[in-house]
Every structure is written in structure tokens, then in C-alpha cells.
């Protein structure tokens, strides 16, 4: 029979949720196994880096790359797989925009190492030992990858052809994309334009969210445990932060339906440069404080109070998009969060 297209799936700094979600397409995984020759798919088949290094350039048809670029090994693998693959897909929020690991961009490499290896109640490290990229032990030398200061998204180290957002991408969406790919590779079906985001909607999560939405005027922000939200009503207008309005649909609005605000894992919409800034603008705009003619000082004071009830704007608005945000990382000196 004709040679099957080659599929690879690799993870960098990730949690494995992408693999689990992929496995959650259920028996369809057998279809994938059927259609593709697995060129590198540590999740369900045994290949090794050496094999990949041996492949001719572009040998792999589709490489699903998940995980952020956290250390030198991640980056080296990204370069290798880019070189060997026709299509590289940033799979999941980490590869797409940094995801949770990129919250690390609010702090520094040094602060992280100090916290993990020096000061916590269970540590026993009198010699103040830190992991080293090279360590000479009695029998020889041991090496480790270099831990970066800044977490990067995949397309910040290599060109990326497609993006599949989500933390993790929902199984239905993964399958939908795989179907398109299969159809393209086997029947010459159409592929989406290069650089586009696949396996997601074109509108914000609110469109998928069944909760009732009204004109908003937020008097203060509430933490999830501050109140029991009124059922069936938009969480945001009840003062519970929800990233839905600034987040791409595709997940089915699962979190709001579990009475928890969206955190934006499907990333920004087309035409948005910075998801966090956009949500910040939207949410601040509908704070019902201040009106023409009010005393300026009073207004500023009240606004400060209300806005400060929204704790941790950076960690909330950029929960998943930090690495891809305009500023990308915080300006930090020494140990500070």
C-alpha cells in the first residue's frame, strides 16, 4: 500500500493533559494509529530522539508539539522537530501561548531556584546546593538542561504552521482537527490558511455560555467564595471575574457552567494582540463607578478601592497568555514575585 503520512507528537514543558485529552478521543485513537505511521509519538509508541535525528528534513508530515519552552532541552527539541517536520502544530495552550508555566515570567529564574532549593520548611540544603548544568561526580560528568529566565511559546523559537488552543484542547476539537488533516493528507482536502488557529471557534466563549447576559455595571469584584452566585446569570455581571468575553470559544463554556469563571485557556480572538489588556479594558469599562460631573478626587479614590477588589490582575488576565502577551514577562530584579 502507499506509504502512510508520518505523525509525531512531542511535549516540552507541559503537564501531559494534552496527551490525556488526546487519549480521551477514545477508540478514535485506533483510527489515528491506522491512518498514520507514527514517526515519534512517545505517548503511545516507542521511538527515540536518535531516530528523529536520523530522519531526512521534512520526513515527518505533521508534528503536534505541546508544552512551553522552559529550558534549553525544550528549545533544542523544538528546533530539531521543526527541521524534520512539514507541518508543526503548536498543540495546546503551553506551546501556543505559554500557559500556566509562563506565570513564571512574573518572577525570575533566580527567585525560583532560591524558593525551590533554599527556603521552604521541608528543605535540607545546608551547602546551598543548586542543580548544575554540569556536575562532576566520582564516576564521571552528569549534565542537565539550562533552566531559562523566561518561558517562551513555541513560535517564539521556531516558525509554527497551526495552533490548537486550550488547556487542554477538548477531545472533540482534537478529533475535528485530526479529521481535517487526515482528509487533507489522504484525499487532498483543503487545509486552513497557514498560521491560523484551528480546533476552536471564531467568537468569544460567551457565545457558547448559556448564562443570561445583561448590561453590566459592576460595583465591586467578588472572590468565588464571597458569595453564592445567582443561578443562570452571567458571573461577570455578578462581580465574579470571568475571562469569557475575551476568550476564544471551543471549550463549550465548561467552567462558567460549573459556576466558576472562565480563565481564558483558549486564548485571545483574532485581531487581539494581548488578551489580558483586552479583558482589563472591558472589565474596567463596566465598573459602575464614576460619572461626568462627580468630584474628581472622590471618583479616583472610589475607583481605586473598587479596582483593588480585583486581586492579581496580571495572574488573572494573563493566566494562560503570559508568554504571548505584549510585555511577555515582568521586569524583576532579584527575588520578587
Amino acid at each position: 500500500m502507499a506509504e502512510k503520512p508520518k505523525l509525531a507528537m512531542y511535549w516540552a514543558a507541559a503537564c501531559g493533559g494534552c496527551e490525556i485529552s488526546t487519549l480521551n478521543i477514545g477508540e478514535k485513537i485506533l483510527v489515528v494509529d491506522d491512518v498514520f505511521d507514527l514517526a515519534f509519538f512517545p505517548c503511545i509508541a516507542d521511538f527515540k530522539v536518535k531516530d528523529v535525528q536520523g530522519y531526512p528534513d521534512g520526513y515527518i508530515d505533521v508534528c503536534l508539539f505541546n508544552g512551553a519552552i522552559r529550558n534549553s532541552e525544550n528549545e533544542e527539541m523544538a528546533h530539531l522537530l521543526r527541521q524534520k517536520s512539514k507541518f508543526v502544530v503548536a498543540f495546546g495552550s503551553c506551546a501556543y501561548e505559554g500557559c500556566i508555566p509562563a506565570l513564571s515570567n512574573l518572577t525570575s529564574r533566580q527567585a525560583t531556584l532560591e524558593t525551590v532549593y533554599f527556603d521552604n520548611p521541608s528543605i535540607d540544603n545546608p551547602e546551598m546546593t543548586l542543580p548544575q548544568v554540569k556536575t562532576r561526580v566520582a564516576e564521571g560528568e552528569l549534565t542537565l538542561p539550562y533552566f531559562y529566565q523566561t518561558v517562551k511559546a513555541l513560535d517564539q523559537v521556531v516558525p509554527v504552521d497551526y495552533y490548537i488552543p486550550g488547556c487542554p484542547p477538548e477531545p472533540e476539537q482534537i478529533w475535528a482537527v485530526l479529521e481535517v488533516v487526515v482528509n487533507a493528507l489522504l484525499n487532498g482536502g483543503p487545509l486552513p490558511p497557514g498560521g491560523s488557529i484551528v480546533g476552536a471557534g471564531k467568537v468569544a466563549v460567551c457565545e457558547e455560555c448559556p448564562l443570561e447576559k445583561n448590561v453590566k455595571a459592576i460595583d465591586q469584584f467578588y472572590r468565588p467564595y464571597d458569595l453564592i452566585p445567582q443561578p443562570g446569570l452571567c458571573l461577570l455581571e455578578q462581580g465574579i471575574v470571568c475571562m469569557g468575553p475575551a476568550t476564544r470559544s471551543g471549550c463549550g463554556a465548561l467552567c462558567p457552567q460549573a459556576n466558576m469563571g472562565c480563565r481564558g485557556c483558549y486564548g485571545p480572538l483574532d485581531g487581539v494582540e494581548d488578551q489580558g489588556a483586552k479583558m482589563l479594558s472591558a472589565i474596567a469599562s463596566v465598573v459602575g463607578v464614576g460619572a461626568a460631573g462627580e468630584d474628581e478626587g472622590e471618583m479616583a479614590k472610589k475607583l481605586d478601592e473598587v479596582m483593588s477588589t480585583l486581586v492579581d490582575p496580571a495572574g488573572t488576565f494573563y493566566r494562560f497568555s503570559m508568554a504571548h502577551s505584549l510585555l511577555q514577562r515582568a521586569k524583576v530584579n532579584g527575588k520578587q514575585a
Binding site: 514543558a13 507541559a14 503537564c15 501531559g16 493533559g17 490525556i20 485529552s21 480521551n24 477508540e27 512517545p42 516507542d46 521511538f47 527515540k48 530522539v49 508544552g67 522552559r70 532541552e73 508555566p101 506565570l103 513564571s104 512574573l106 518572577t107 525560583t112 524558593t115 525551590v116 532549593y117 521552604n120 520548611p121 521541608s122 528543605i123 535540607d124 546546593t129 543548586l130 542543580p131 566520582a138 564516576e139 564521571g140 552528569l142 542537565l144 538542561p145 533552566f147 488547556c167 487542554p168 477531545p171 472572590r223 468565588p224 467564595y225 464571597d226 453564592i228 465548561l254 467552567c255 460549573a258 459556576n259 466558576m260 486581586v311 492579581d312 496580571a314 495572574g315 488573572t316 514575585a337
Partner: protein
Amino acid sequence: MQRITIDPITRLEGHGKIEIFLDDAGEVANAYLQIPELRGFEQFCVGRPAEEMPRITNRICGVCPEAHHMAATKALDALYHVEPSSAVKKLREFFYSAFYVTDHTTHFYALGGPDFVLGPDAPAAERNILGVVHKVGLEIGKAVIDTRMRNHHVIKQVGGRGVHPVAGMPGGWSKAISEEERQEFEAIARKNVDFALFSLKVFDDIVLANQAYVDLILSDAFTHRTYYMGTVDSNNKVNFYDGLIRVVDPQGKEFVKYPSRDYAKHVAERVEPWSYLKFPYLKGVGWKGFVDGPESGVYCATPLSRLNASDGMATPLAQEAFERFYQTLGSQQVNGRYQPVHQRLATHWARLVELLYAAERMLELVTDPEITDPNVRVVVKNTPDEGVGSVEAPRGTLTHHYWTDERGILTGVNLIVGTTNNNAPITMSVKKAAQHLIHNGTVITEGLLNRVEMAFRNYDPCMSCATHSLPGQMPLEVVIRDPDGNVIEHLSQYT
């Protein structure tokens, strides 16, 4: 000096690299387990609102996000000084049991199982979940997939999402379940019990019926006499969700039993420059290096450990399986408690005993009238300060420790995750296996290397958890270098 590099180890969840050094005589001089990944949650969570931790720390591991979600949620209970209602506790434990069913199923059939079902010497290309399916039959393969799917369905319904749940809140749970859901879940729980019993039978038929395997399990190559840790309920029975942490010594005598908030009094972590993963040990015994025995603070926290640390299982069928487990492996009872089983490969069996317990527990809870109580969410007004929460993750005791300011903004975070507990024992197991199996002139074969890996794999180490790297399996690769580091032989498994 020769050097064998196993990078990365296959069918382990997360990055890992084994370095084996041979002396000039070709004997194993030393072995190192290296973890190349770090993500630094302890630092970047500082500054976040505490209540977000169940939704942030579950990203430590996509394989067991439920464990981190639950440990974080319990840490919030403590942090905000709020005792969940019994309905909430039951709902959480039900959710958590469903997770155990999927996770143990996945490991036994996809990760650990192949070594036994197909045998350590079977071609590696077959030695995976698909191979298992072919060997034991497609309908069983389907049953495995079904079990994962139906329990993931429960997780999604109760936890809000399929992977990375969102429902955990201080003192509560963000949504209740309806009677319709309960009925559906009850049916699922019943199926789970049948499936667990069936899996134990598979183990009987394929492993215990095969003397070669039994010998392998009992062989000294896979034996370590360490301390064992596990969470137990008020009757010293195994519990995954809540209870006291109990440690027994290599003779099975209770060494200490403490509430998780005291973890730092009993456990300390060492740092080695050649791994990003720390090495915990028992403070009360002290660190004596990578050695076992009562003098060494090295302890182990796995399904086997939990059984060793407990007086039994809290559900009837699981208790039967528990008895049979110890009797079959020749453990004697000393004042009412079975002596610990030290053969690491027995962990796979222990895991099935736990699978049965999880399934039975699920059924108990889903038939409890309280389970559909609509009032699972509470308004919290208390001022937060510090809180510790722990659960038994499938791969060991998982502890989250938070400090906040009075607004509930995190000022400190400490995490000791399941696999980390086993960092030292794994290293020792690998070294010991290597020492038994690799001798001067031994031609390293794939099966042999796989046995080295099995020493590792039985811990079901999840390096996603431990290092916040990624899970999955990658091929075993062996490089033999002369003392100058030149490659004199390059073997690899699946060529």
C-alpha cells in the same frame, strides 16, 4: 570506565534519565536517576489568590490533575479555617475515587501491565497497550478504554472539566449533582467493581499462574527494605482522600502517625546538583545516602507502601484481596498486622487491590443519600493565614502547603508531590537491578535493559508531578563509553 545512558526511560510519565557507570571491570559502579525538568510552581504561585490554586496546581500534572486539585482544595479548607460539610466531603471523595479507577486502570494496562502480560522479553513494539489488547483480546481492550471513558465522564460532570477540574473551593464544591446524574453514576460504579474484580483475575491468570513471573517478582533484584508511608483512616485502613499519615518501619512496626499539617516535622528534602528533583527522607531517621534498611531515612510511598502502612482495606471485597495479597506473598502476621511486602514488583498487584477498593468506595458513596445534597457551596468570611492539605495521589502522599496575607494572596507555597517521595528508592532500585543484571562481559540486551526499567516503572513514577515536566514513554537508549567517554557500543531498544 563505561557509561550507560538510559534517556529517557520509557513508559514513565515525565522526563527521566538514568546514568549507569561501569567500572573498568565492567561491573556497575553507580547509577543515577536524573530529572531534567523544573517549572517552579512554588515560586510563581506566590502573588496569586489562594482560591485559584486548585485551578493552577492541577497544571502540575495532566495525568493526575485531580490529585493536585484535591490537595489544593483541602489546603484551602485549612487556610480559610472552614470544615466542609459531610455532603461536600462525600462528593469530593466520590469524585476522587472515580479518578483512582481511571488512573490505576491506565497504569496497569498501558504502563506496567505489558511487562507481565507480554513478558519482559517480548518485542518492544508489541509491549504496549495495543499489544496487551491483542494478547488479552479486543473486548478486554475495549473494556479498558470504556472504563477510562466512563470514569472521565464522571470526572467531567462532577469536577466541571475532563482534564484539569475546576469545582474545588474552600469548604465546598462549586456544583452539586442531580438525582439523574447520581443514577447514571451508580451504574458506572457497579461496572467499575466488576471491572476491578476482572482485572484481579487477569493478574491471577497471567501473572500468578506463571511461575517465571512469580520468581521475577520475588527475586532479590527488585527488593528493598525501606520505610513505608500511606494515609489511613481512624481504623488504620487505607484512605485516599483523608486521614492521618502513617509511616511503618521495614519490620512493619508503626514508626510515626501524624496529621498532614505536621509534615515538615517528619519529612525533609535533600538537593543533589545532578537532578532538578529533590530527595525527601524521614527526619526522624536521618539521611544515610541511597541505601535501605531501618537505619536509612529513605521511605517509599506507593500502592504497595499504602498497603504496608495500613491494617487493611475499608471495603469487604478489597479486604479479601488484601488478605490474599499478603498470604500469597508469604507475609507473616505480627500482632495482627501483616509484615510488609518488600518486593517492589508486587506494587502492580497492590495497585489492583486499590483499584477494587476505589470502585467499591465509589459505589458506597454514590448510594449515600447525602451525595445529592444541593448545598455544597459555602460563603467564607474567615481570614486566611496558613494551610496544609494532603491526599494520597496514586503515586504517593501529595502535600500542598500555603501561606497568605490577610487578603488571601499567597506569600509562600511548598509542594511535596507523590513521585518525589520515591525519588531516592527509585534510584536505589535502578542501581540494584543494574548491579544484579549487568556484569562484566554481559551483552546488554533489550530485555535486560527493560528489566532495569521495570525496577523503575513499578513505581509508576509521574515526573510531570515531580518535575512538572511531561509524561509519556520514550525509548530506552544505551550508550556504552570507555573511560574517555568515547562510544564503544551503542544499543537501543526498538531498531
